[in-house]
């Protein structure tokens, strides 16, 4: 067997071309025929002691692998899952997890290594060439395939029975119709829901600090300050509707800067003494954002790095967002609470189909 294999590409050459092949460097189609290296026997092929040694090594690797796996089971039994150990570079981890992972990992590694070592050292070592067959079939089988196809077409009557053919084509043409109807009816239309938030429900809406649940007063806010806020009455609406849809639309951030730092707003005097209210929902794909840097007034969206300048009417200064961050007009009511005077001038959140 091994002597035969040392002859280059005997069966490949005959299969493909049914004739003699020039063994020099190329065949008649210009492909290189690479000469095989001369076979050099491995030390384990010559020296029985080396073969014996390799055999013992393989056996040791298998034994080690088995021992590690058994150790993994023992670790699972021995350690409580809450017991912690300190492992250098990893940190404080669960002893059970650590030993289970380490021992099962080492166990599989040793078993794999034993198999490779066995194959490399002890299984037959010989060189062989397998040529790739050309993809094109020979002339005879090609002709036969065409012949079969033609006969099938004639027997089916596809050409001789136009009534069957035409009705079939007509039926197939209507196949996409149900899909079109179904696609046209993916739930009720949102109508105006995407354009309005509950900030517009009343003439004045008080603002609630989302963290503390307290109503916001202007003097609560330091220059450079940030408050994540929601409209008063949101909890009630959420209970009534059973959804968070209103929160998703009406969440805002309040920031305060020196009035002199405000370059532009979406409406004249929409701030209240330097306090500005902007939607918290990114106009790109709607991530909630409050990564506000008070020094640069940049609001950064962590999802796709859209950056808005809150001192300049919420303008997009970087990233994929296409629209300004919508702003709310602020004021103060008779009791001194910060209020929003009306809805956002534009729909909040990402662009949608009907908006154009």
């Amino acid at each position: 067997m091994s002597e035969q294999s040392n002859l280059p590409a005997t069966h490949g050459a005959h299969d493909n071309h049914g004739g003699e092949v020039d063994y020099a460097t190329r065949d008649e189609r210009g492909r290189y025929i690479l000469p095989l290296e001369e076979h050099t026997p491995r030390i384990t092929d010559i020296d029985p002691r080396a073969a014996k040694r390799a055999e013992r090594q393989v056996a040791w690797l298998f034994t080690l692998g088995g021992a590690c796996l058994a150790g993994g089971v023992a670790a699972y039994v021995a350690f409580d899952s809450r017991e912690l150990i300190s492992v250098p570079t990893i940190g404080r981890v669960s002893a059970s997890n650590f030993w289970l992972g380490t021992l099962i990992g080492l166990g599989s590694f040793f078993i794999g290594a034993a198999a490779i070592h066995w194959a490399r050292r002890l299984m037959p070592g010989e060189e062989a060439v397998d040529h790739r067959h050309p993809l094109r079939g020979d002339e005879q089988s090609r002709a036969s395939a065409i012949e079969q196809f033609k006969r099938g077409a004639a027997e089916s009557g596809f050409l001789s029975r136009p009534l069957v053919r035409r009705t079939m084509l007509g039926a197939m043409a209507l196949f996409p119709l149900p899909l079109v109807v179904l696609l046209g009816d993916l739930g009720p239309s949102p109508k105006e829901k995407l354009r309005h938030t509950m900030w517009g429900d009343k003439r004045m809406t008080r603002i609630v600090n989302q963290g503390s649940g307290e109503l916001v007063r202007p003097e609560d806010m330091a220059v450079g300050g940030l408050i994540n806020a929601i409209p008063e009455g949101l909890e009630r609406i959420q209970e009534e509707t059973g959804t968070q849809n209103e929160r998703a639309k009406s969440s805002i951030i309040l920031v305060r800067m020196n009035p002199s730092e405000i370059k532009a707003q979406q409406g004249e005097g929409w701030d209240y003494e330097g306090i500005l209210a902007y939607s918290k929902i990114c106009t790109h794909v709607g991530c909630p954002i409050s990564l506000y840097q008070q020094r640069t007034h940049a609001l950064l969206c962590p999802c796709h790095q859209s950056t808005f300048d809150l001192s300049d009417a919420g303008r997009v200064v970087f990233g994929p967002a296409a629209r300004h961050m919508p702003q709310l007009r602020l004021g103060v009511d008779a009791e001194g609470y910060l209020v929003a005077l009306g809805d956002f001038a534009e729909p909040v959140g990402p662009s949608f189909w009907e908006r154009g």
Binding site: I116, R120, G211, D220, L226, Q293, Q294, T296, A298
Partner: protein, 263 residues
């Protein structure tokens, strides 16, 4: 140097200076519209401390922040930033900056705590701002960790990461990791808003909530990683990068071994 060390002794003008300081403090406190953050708790501040602070300031800070702390092209004004800001910036080694860079990074503090106190006393004498918090303000022994986690996720996690490991911001700036921050420094950072960080005054996040946040950060700092190597607790991205690199590397190594000619 001689005249400065001389001024450490009681001098007639010391009390006048103290009076002046008190007047400036009151005036500035009034001027600062955000009365809630103005916490001019200037306890135990002595004129000598202010003098010492002025000396240190002139030597170490004035080249950027101006001789009177009025700011300049390379450093912001320090009038009205308060003692807490100084204690935070200098106490975490962020100030003085080692070199001009986008953002000052945490390093070993250059000044001793006594020197920092003196600097803080001097800077708060320039204009009132949030004072260094009292230990009782950041004592979190009775705090609610779970609620702290909630407030943290609402107000802090967007920049500092869910596990307090920090994260990238724009233009090369970043929110630092909170793993080394002490309760006092966390409190100071919230009330002063260092660098890009917004201010979270006691009116915005009440002191009780701040203690809850501190308790949560303390929990994060000490939490073990029972599942194994946390890889910075950044989540699936680092885990994938690590696994991909390590696993593909191992596969390549084994492939080379399999393919190598056996002798």
């Amino acid at each position: 140097m001689a005249n400065i060390s001389g001024s450490r002794r009681r001098r007639p003008y010391a009390s006048a200076l103290l009076l002046l300081t008190a007047l400036t403090t009151t005036g500035a406190a009034y001027a600062v519209t955000t009365s809630a953050i103005a916490n001019p708790r200037t306890s135990e501040v002595t004129a000598a401390q202010i003098q010492e602070g002025k000396r240190l300031f002139t030597e170490g800070c004035s080249s950027c922040h101006g001789l009177a702390g009025q700011g300049g092209s390379s450093g912001p004004s320090l009038i009205g930033v308060g003692a807490a800001a100084v204690d935070f910036q200098v106490g975490t080694g962020r100030m003085p900056m080692a070199q001009a860079q986008v953002q000052a990074m945490r390093k070993d503090p250059v000044y001793t705590q006594a020197e920092i106190d003196a600097l803080a006393a001097y800077v708060s004498s320039l204009g009132a701002g949030p004072g260094v918090p009292d230990p009782s303000q950041y004592d979190f022994s009775n705090a609610n960790v779970a609620r702290g986690g909630e407030i943290y996720r609402l107000n802090c996690s967007q920049c500092h990461n869910y596990a307090g490991k920090g994260g990238a911001l724009s233009d090369g700036k970043y929110a630092p990791t909170l793993m080394k921050a002490t309760p006092k420094q966390i409190y100071e950072a919230m009330i002063t808003g260092p660098q890009g960080m917004p201010v979270f005054s006691d009116a915005q996040i009440p002191a009780k909530d701040k203690q809850d946040i501190i308790a949560y950060i303390d929990y994060l700092q000490n939490a073990p990683d029972p599942g194994g190597a946390a890889l910075g607790r950044f989540g699936p991205v680092t885990e994938t990068v690590f696994l991909f690199t390590a696993a593909i590397g191992a596969v390549i190594a084994v492939t080379i071994w399999i393919g190598a000619k056996s002798r």
